[in-house]
Amino acid sequence: MTLETPVVVEPQRPWKATPRELAPTGYLLLASAFASWAVVAATPMKGKLAYAFLFFVFGTASLSINKGRKLGRSAAVDSIAGSVAMTGAFLVFLPVASILFTTIQKGVKGLHWTLFSQTMFTASYSDPISKGGLLHALVGTLYLILISVIVSVPMGILTALYLTEIKGPGSNFIQFIVQAMSGVPSVVAGLFIFASIIVTTPVKASAIAGAFALSILMIPTVTRTAQEVLLLVPMDLREAGQALGATQWKTVATIVVPAARNGLITATILGVARIAGETAPLLFTIGGSDKLNWNPFKDYQGALPFYVWKGLLLGTPESIQRAWTGILVLLILVLVLFILARTLGGRKMKSK
């Protein structure tokens, strides 16, 4: 007996618009484009803004009239609302596209290999971009990230465990405090570390002081993401652990945390992405050296955002080129972290 090949049923979507129904939309948009071109040519209005605005007005109006003619007044209003919502989303997309495009376009010009092997110790920011590099800033940023992770990740995850596992009498309040903490302005975090650590203790401006300031910003991010992930771990797993006689500590350490591992890594990455580009707290806490400094506990340290900041403030064409190149390196770092967090987060969702 041969196996019948299974019949694959094509899903029917009778509500989907046919090309025939879509055609008027296309015609109307084309007509609006032409009309806005004609109006711009005929009247004193000019510029890209005029084209965009007129196209939006004509397109929205003609589509709405078309709908309204067939389906009545409320359909016409509905069509306007849809067009406006779509335009809003498009307007949000534009700056992101522009930022990515400009950063790459302007930053690439300054990329060269010695950028990653030299520092600014012997070069000045207004020297041609081929002189000097940002090795010191890269090392500084890596130190800052490393120390911030060491400080914030245990703290963030333990706080999240308090909020999800212990659920003590204070958890609602602590939840509130963590949310309030995520709103602390970055400049205040820097001022605080200056006022508390740099003024009163032997620790002076250095990578570790900077990392403490960044940790204040990173802890709430890690806590909130970790908390969301821990809440996704099914209650059954915890109950199963307890039923087998495990103590709460054993259940959390051997069942809950491993089950949420990917999510906790995502929380860490999101936290790092949050602080990697922070500039304001570093202005008070790391000193912003142009020299390579391998000791994170002593002496001034450089950092990528600080490098960009210095280049921007100086304002010569060469220094601004440096700023663009520095921000490109920083952006690539952030993008890599972002994509990592996405893929890990996506995998977690699938396995569920």
């Binding site: 209003v77 919502a85 809003g88 706080t159 602590i174 709103g183 709430p220 922070e278 304001a280 921000i327």
Partner: protein, 325 residues
């Protein structure tokens, strides 16, 4: 017949947690409380260091508009520190950011929740999340070189046609580095947070009410107007306030695109303004002694301001989210 094995000694039944559990609970609770400690310490240290300024300047520190430290020939130092102009500027810029940013965010959230096809939705959610991950100095750089020329042109249009509205007037048509430009950059920076909060709230709209509206023959817009807005409006207000907290505290991006002058300016298009956070980094480089203390006092005011706004915002958002369940 075999002899019965001796029954094992009955296990002690107790609700007292084991030692390991006590250590675990103790540690976790302790760390949980740490964030409260940090927040308190921030307020305490800034207030303590700024105390002298508050004492000498008194209420004038908040209302005064001058920021100067003059050393006379005899070596006597006269200080006059006030953040009044900066506070007004901060609120003005944040207001511009909200007026531009919140409608765009709400429209985007509506589009993502109710209109967008799955693929576009996924893409746009990534775009908005990416926006939140961009460093603020990147917004500053882009805002200064790319956005500012465009915004200056828009400011010119507003000045030409809407000058009769007082805030769009200006002593001269000079629009560079104005509060309007800073507000535009901030508007883009608050879009991610306002959009994601609004989206979360719109997604919580009770499905039965949505379906009831459709069943009664409502169009999509009719449904949104009758169901989504009444349910979500207070949550959107909360989201907007979270954005406001962001806008108050933003430093580097505003510093890059704003011409900070210690003078009250209500003409948003005109090329100077104030901002507490940016003023702190502007003055920090040259500050010594009393001025440093005054800057820490300004930091304290900023901290209290953002904390209050954020707490209120979180409270509102949480209440709305709960009402959907």
């Amino acid at each position: 017949m075999t002899t019965k094995p001796a029954a094992p000694a009955p296990r002690e039944i107790t609700t007292k947690p084991r030692l390991s559990d006590r250590i675990f609970r103790g540690t976790v609770t302790g760390v949980g409380m740490l964030s409260l400690a940090i927040l308190t310490l921030i307020g305490l240290f800034l207030a303590l260091r700024g105390f002298q300024t508050f004492k000498t300047e008194g209420f004038h520190f908040i209302t005064g508009v001058k920021w100067e430290s003059v050393t006379s020939d005899s070596g006597k130092v006269t200080n006059n520190f006030g953040v009044g102009a900066m506070l007004i500027g901060t609120v003005l810029i944040a207001a511009v950011a909200l007026v531009v940013g919140v409608p765009l965010s709400v429209l985007t959230a509506l589009f993502l929740t109710f209109y967008a096809p799955e693929r576009i939705k996924k893409f746009m959610v990534s775009v908005v999340d990416l926006m939140a991950a961009f460093p603020s100095i990147l917004y500053g750089l882009w805002g200064f070189f790319i956005l500012m020329p465009m915004v200056q042109y828009w400011a010119g249009l507003l000045y030409e046609y809407l000058r009769w509205i007082p805030i769009f007037n200006a002593p001269q048509p000079f629009f560079e580095r104005s509060p309007f430009v800073a507000g535009m950059v901030l508007a883009i920076m608050i879009i991610p947070i306002v959009t994601s909060v609004s989206r979360e709230i719109f997604a919580q709209t009770p499905l039965d009410r949505i379906q009831a509206a459709y069943a009664l023959g409502a169009t999509k817009w009719g449904m949104i107007k009758a169901v989504v807005f009444p349910f979500g409006s207070s949550g959107v207000v909360g989201g907007a306030m979270l954005g406001l907290g962001r806008a108050f505290g933003e430093t580097v991006a505003v510093f890059t695109v704003l011409n900070i002058v210690f003078k009250v300016n209500f003409h948003i298009l005109y090329g100077f303004g104030g901002n507490v956070a940016s003023m702190i980094i502007l003055k920090w480089g040259e500050a010594v002694g009393d001025e440093t203390k005054a800057l820490l006092a300004a930091g304290f005011i900023l901290f209290v301001l953002t904390l209050l706004v954020n707490m209120l915002a979180n409270f509102i958002v949480k209440r709305t989210l709960k009402s959907g369940k």
